[in-house]
C-alpha cells in the first residue's frame, strides 16, 4: 500500500497526512457548527406538541445518547482509517455499492438539505428585514447559497475557521435568548406547568430525535478523519450531541410549550434581538450548510472522479437554483423535496449499521483481522469486491422496514428498527457465508493511483 497523491483536493480520496490532522477542540467546533442552525431549534419545537418540559428533555437526551453511540462507532472508523464515509463503505458494501450508497447518503441527500437550508436562510432574512429588496426570500437564497458555497469550496480549513468564529457565540446567545423568552412568557413555573393537549409515548420522541440527526451520525467520518488522536473526533461528536443538542432542541420545545405557534427566532425579534437573530441566522446557517455541501462533494468524488471543487460548484449551484425556485414558486415543491430527502434518509441508518457491523464484528471475529489498523487498509492497488451482496440484502430489508413500518404502525420507531434489522441481518449473512464457504463478494475493483 503506497501513499496516494491528493488528486481530487482536500483529501477526498486520499488519507489525511499527519500534519493536516486537527485537535479535539477543532473537531468539537466543526460538529457544533453543524448543529448551530435554526432548523435544530425548530425540530425541538415539534416535540412540544407531544410532551411536557421534563418528558421532552428526557426523550431528547435518550435520543441523543443513542445518536452519540452510533456516531462514536462510525466516527472511530474514520479517525482510524483517515478515510471519508464513502471510502469506508467500499469495504463493507463493495466498490460499486459504495458509489451508490455515498450518493444516497450525501451526494443527493445533502444537496437536498443544502437547498432546503438555503431557502430557509432566505425566509429568515426576509422575516428580519421585510422591507429590504436584497433580503427578499429569492434574492437572499441566491446570495446565501453562494456564500455557503465559498467555504465548502475552500475545504475543511475554511469550515473550521467559520465554526471557530460562530459556535461559541451561538451557544451563548441561544440559551440567553431562551431564558429571556421564558421569562417574558410566564417564567419557569409556567413552563413546568405547561402540557400539550395529548401526550405521546416517549419512544416516539426518542425516534424523532434520532431521525433528526442520524445522517450526521452516519457521515461523522467525513470530519473525524482529520482527528489527531483516534478518540478525539468520536468523543467530540458524542459530547456535542449529548451536551449541546438537548439544549438547542429544548430551546425550541420550551418556548413552543409556553407560547404555541411562536418560534424562538420570532420571539427574539419581538424582544429586539435583531442583530443576534441575524448573526445566528446568517452565520449559523452558513456553518451548517457548507458542511452539507462539503460532504456531498466528497460522496460525488467517490462516484465520479472529477476534482472536489467542481462538485462543490455543481451541487452548490443546483441547490441554490432549487432554493430560489422554491422561493419564487416556480414548479419546485418544497414538500416533494423534503419527502424525497426523508425517503432517502430512511435508507441511511441501515448503511451505517452495515458499516459498523463490518468493522467491529465481521472483520475481527469472522475474517480474523483483529488489529484495528489492518481492518480497512486502502490506497492505490487495493482490491475491493465490486458488490458485497450480504450488505445489499441487509440494507434493502432494513431500509424497507424503516420506510414502511411507520406508515402502518406510526408508534414503531422505523429508523431504529431499520438500523437494528440491518445490523443483525448483515452479521448473520456474513457469518453464514464465512462458515459455509459461500462467496459474498461479486466482481473485483482495483483502486487506481488517484485513489478512485
Amino acid at each position: 500500500m503506497t501513499e496516494v497523491k491528493d488528486y481530487f483536493g482536500d483529501y477526498a480520496l486520499a488519507k489525511i497526512p499527519e500534519p493536516e490532522t486537527r485537535t479535539f477542540l477543532n473537531q468539537l467546533m466543526v460538529f457544533m457548527g453543524v448543529l448551530a442552525v435554526w432548523a435544530a431549534v425548530f425540530a425541538g419545537a415539534a416535540l412540544a406538541s407531544w410532551y411536557d418540559a421534563t418528558t421532552l428533555v428526557v426523550s431528547v437526551v435518550i435520543g441523543c445518547i443513542i445518536l452519540g453511540i452510533i456516531a462514536y462507532l462510525t466516527g472511530y472508523i474514520g479517525s482510524r482509517t483517515k478515510a471519508s464515509t464513502y471510502v469506508i463503505l467500499r469495504h463493507s458494501m463493495g466498490r460499486l455499492i459504495a458509489m451508490i450508497a455515498g450518493l444516497i447518503i450525501s451526494g443527493i441527500s445533502a444537496m437536498i438539505w443544502f437547498a432546503y437550508e438555503t431557502w430557509l436562510f432566505g425566509v429568515i432574512m426576509q422575516g428580519v428585514f421585510p422591507d429590504i429588496p436584497f433580503m427578499r426570500v429569492e434574492v437572499a437564497s441566491i446570495w446565501g447559497g453562494l456564500l455557503m458555497m465559498s467555504t465548502a469550496i475552500l475545504g475543511y480549513r475554511a469550515l473550521s475557521v467559520l465554526s471557530y468564529f460562530i459556535v461559541p457565540a451561538w451557544f451563548v446567545i441561544i440559551p440567553m435568548a431562551l431564558a429571556a423568552a421564558i421569562d417574558i412568557n410566564g417564567g419557569w413555573s409556567a413552563l413546568m406547568a405547561a402540557k400539550p393537549p395529548t401526550l405521546m409515548d416517549i419512544g416516539v420522541g426518542i425516534t424523532f430525535t434520532v431521525g433528526v440527526y442520524i445522517v450526521g451520525a452516519t457521515i461523522a467520518p467525513d470530519v473525524t478523519r482529520f482527528s489527531r488522536r483516534p478518540h478525539d473526533g468520536p468523543l467530540a461528536w458524542f459530547i456535542h450531541v449529548v451536551v449541546f443538542m438537548p439544549i438547542i432542541m429544548a430551546a425550541g420545545g420550551f418556548l413552543q410549550l409556553l407560547t404555541p405557534g411562536v418560534n424562538l427566532a420570532a420571539a427574539m425579534v419581538g424582544m429586539g434581538m435583531i442583530w443576534a437573530v441575524l448573526l445566528t441566522g446568517v452565520v449559523g446557517q452558513w456553518s451548517t450548510n457548507d458542511n452539507n455541501l462539503y460532504s456531498s462533494s466528497l460522496a460525488w468524488c467517490n462516484a465520479i472522479p472529477i476534482k472536489r471543487v467542481y462538485w462543490v460548484a455543481i451541487m452548490g449551484i443546483i441547490g441554490t437554483v432549487i432554493a430560489a425556485l422554491i422561493a419564487l414558486g416556480f414548479g419546485v415543491s418544497l414538500e416533494a423535496l423534503l419527502l424525497l430527502g426523508s425517503f432517502l434518509g430512511t435508507w441511511i441508518p441501515p448503511m451505517a449499521a452495515a458499516m459498523i457491523a463490518d468493522f467491529y464484528v465481521v472483520k475481527p471475529f469472522f475474517l480474523g483481522v483483529k488489529a484495528v489498523d489492518k481492518r480497512y487498509e486502502w490506497g492505490p492497488g487495493t482490491v475491493y469486491n465490486l458488490v458485497n451482496w450480504p450488505a445489499v440484502v441487509a440494507i434493502i430489508v432494513g431500509g424497507f422496514l424503516a420506510w414502511w413500518m411507520p406508515q402502518v404502525y406510526p408508534t414503531i420507531p422505523g429508523v431504529v428498527i431499520g438500523f437494528g434489522v440491518s445490523l443483525i441481518l448483515f452479521i448473520l449473512l456474513m457469518a453464514a457465508c464465512v462458515k459455509l464457504g459461500i462467496k459474498y463478494g461479486i466482481g473485483k475493483w482495483v483502486e487506481t493511483e488517484k485513489g478512485f
Binding site: 486537527r22 485537535t23 477542540l25 477543532n26 467546533m29 475543511y156 480549513r157 475554511a158 469550515l159 473550521s160 475557521v161 471557530y164 468564529f165 460562530i166 459556535v167 461559541p168 457565540a169 451563548v172 446567545i173 440567553m176 431564558a179 429571556a180 421569562d183 417574558i184 424582544m271 429586539g272 434581538m273 435583531i274 442583530w275 443576534a276 441575524l278 448573526l279
Partner: protein, 133 residues
C-alpha cells in the same frame, strides 16, 4: 527558537490580559444593570473569564512553539467569538440597559473581536500553526 517562544507567549499574554480586563468590566457592568441583564450577562462574563484564565494556564504550561501556537489560537478563537455576544445582545430592549452601559458593552464586544483577530493573525505568523488548528 526560545526567542520566538518568548515573543509568542508574551504577545498572547498581553492580549489575553486585555480581554481579561474587558471581561471583568462586563461583569461589573452587568452586576450594576437591571435584574433582567444581571444573571445572563454575569454568566457570560464568567464564562469569558474562565476561558481566558484557563487559556493562559495552558499556554504557560506549553513546552514548544507549536504547542504554544495551538493553545493560544484555540483560546483566542473562543473569546473572539464570544465578543459577538457583547456586540449583538445588549441593544435588545428586553435587557433594559442604560444607554451608556449598552454603548460600553458594544464597544467592548468590538474590541474583543478586533483584538482577537489581530492576535490570531500575529500568533499564526509567529508560530506557524493553522488558524483552523
Amino acid at each position: 527558537m526560545s526567542v520566538e517562544i518568548n515573543t509568542a507567549r508574551s504577545l498572547f499574554t498581553k492580549l489575553n490580559l486585555v480581554a481579561l480586563v474587558l471581561s471583568i468590566i462586563i461583569l461589573v457592568l452587568s452586576v450594576i444593570s437591571s435584574p433582567k441583564a444581571q444573571a445572563p450577562f454575569s454568566i457570560y462574563a464568567i464564562i469569558l473569564i474562565i476561558i481566558i484564565l484557563s487559556g493562559q494556564l495552558r499556554v504557560n504550561r506549553a513546552g514548544d512553539l507549536k504547542q504554544i501556537g495551538e493553545r493560544a489560537v484555540q483560546t483566542l478563537w473562543l473569546w473572539t467569538s464570544l465578543g459577538l455576544v457583547a456586540l449583538t445582545m445588549p441593544p435588545a430592549p428586553y435587557f433594559e440597559f442604560a444607554q451608556p452601559v449598552m454603548v460600553a458593552l458594544i464597544v467592548i464586544g468590538a474590541i474583543l473581536i478586533i483584538a482577537g483577530v489581530y492576535a490570531l493573525l500575529k500568533i499564526r505568523k509567529l508560530t506557524g500553526v493553522y488558524l483552523s488548528v
